[in-house]
Amino acid sequence: MTLRKYFVLAGITVFSTLGDSLLARGMKELGNVHVSLHNLPALLLAILNPWVTAGILLLLAFFACYMSALSWADLTYVLPATSLSYVLVALIGHFRLHEEISPTRWLGIALIAAGVGFVAAGPSVTPTRQHRDTPDGSRDTVSQELSHEEVES
């Protein structure tokens, strides 16, 4: 795991959290406009709201980071990183919006953090042949990287 890979994992957490909250803010600003598939013009106009636009762009950035992470790490390694967004939402609410965090929620934060720590301390990828098989059949340099990357007990 290089520093750059940790940045991509952090990107998953940060971009999904910010994207969701900007989207939520934009949709609230639009108010009671009934946005659904049956009301397609309203749905399309929602994109013009700057908060919604920014939210969608951030969610695209999240998806790019997520796909990038899945290309070099196991699904069971990447998923806990996404769970940190629950913690981030709570902490933003606490420090920026001065929301009270109940003891149960603090316990939840602790459990999620512990889970992420458990996974992060282990290997990021299961070395298999599957990683080396690329659609055009060429051997990727990835396999060399994998071979000397951490292999856990």
Binding site: R4, Y66, M67, S68, L70, S71, W72, D74, L75, T76, Y77, V78, L79, P80, S83, Y86, V87, A90, S102, T104, R105, L107, G108, I109, A110, L111, I112, A113, A114, G115, V116, F118, V119, A121, G122, P123, T126, T128, Q130, H131, D133, T134, P135, D140, T141, V142, E145, E152
Partner: protein, 126 residues
């Protein structure tokens, strides 16, 4: 009766999002290391290879199904039931599915992590 519908929606969310995650993960493993590919052949090559991997669009469809099941679930059940129940069980379902379908080495470390995260997500919503 609404409760049965809510749990049916929760089941569908778990099934669809797990299917989506497994398909997307499988696709990206076939695409190969995105960062390296980008450096060697450019961004278009990465996107092109992703789109030419048939399981990738299937994964996106599954994610879309999960999203709409969530919307349906929210119209039948409470926010405080549907979101934490589906999110936490999805972590456990993903660990099982990754082991079976992706042959990932899900050791004790990752099982504990999946359970801790699942419990944590439930507590966050209480």
């Amino acid at each position: 009766m609404n409760e049965i519908y809510a749990w049916a929606a929760i089941g569908l969310i778990i099934l669809a999002s797990t299917t989506g995650d497994v398909l997307l993960s499988y696709s990206m493993k076939r695409v190969g290391h995105v960062g390296e590919l980008w450096q060697r052949r450019g961004l278009l090559a990465v996107v092109g290879r992703m789109l030419r991997t048939p399981t990738f669009p299937l994964g996106l469809v599954a994610m879309g199904v999960a999203f709409y099941s969530l919307l349906f679930g929210l119209s039948w059940g409470n926010l405080s039931l549907v979101v934490p129940a589906s999110a936490s069980l999805t972590f456990v379902a993903n660990a099982v599915a990754a082991r079976i379908f992706l042959h990932e080495r899900v050791g004790r470390r990752r099982w504990i992590a999946a359970l801790l995260v699942a419990c944590g997500v439930v507590l966050m919503a209480v």
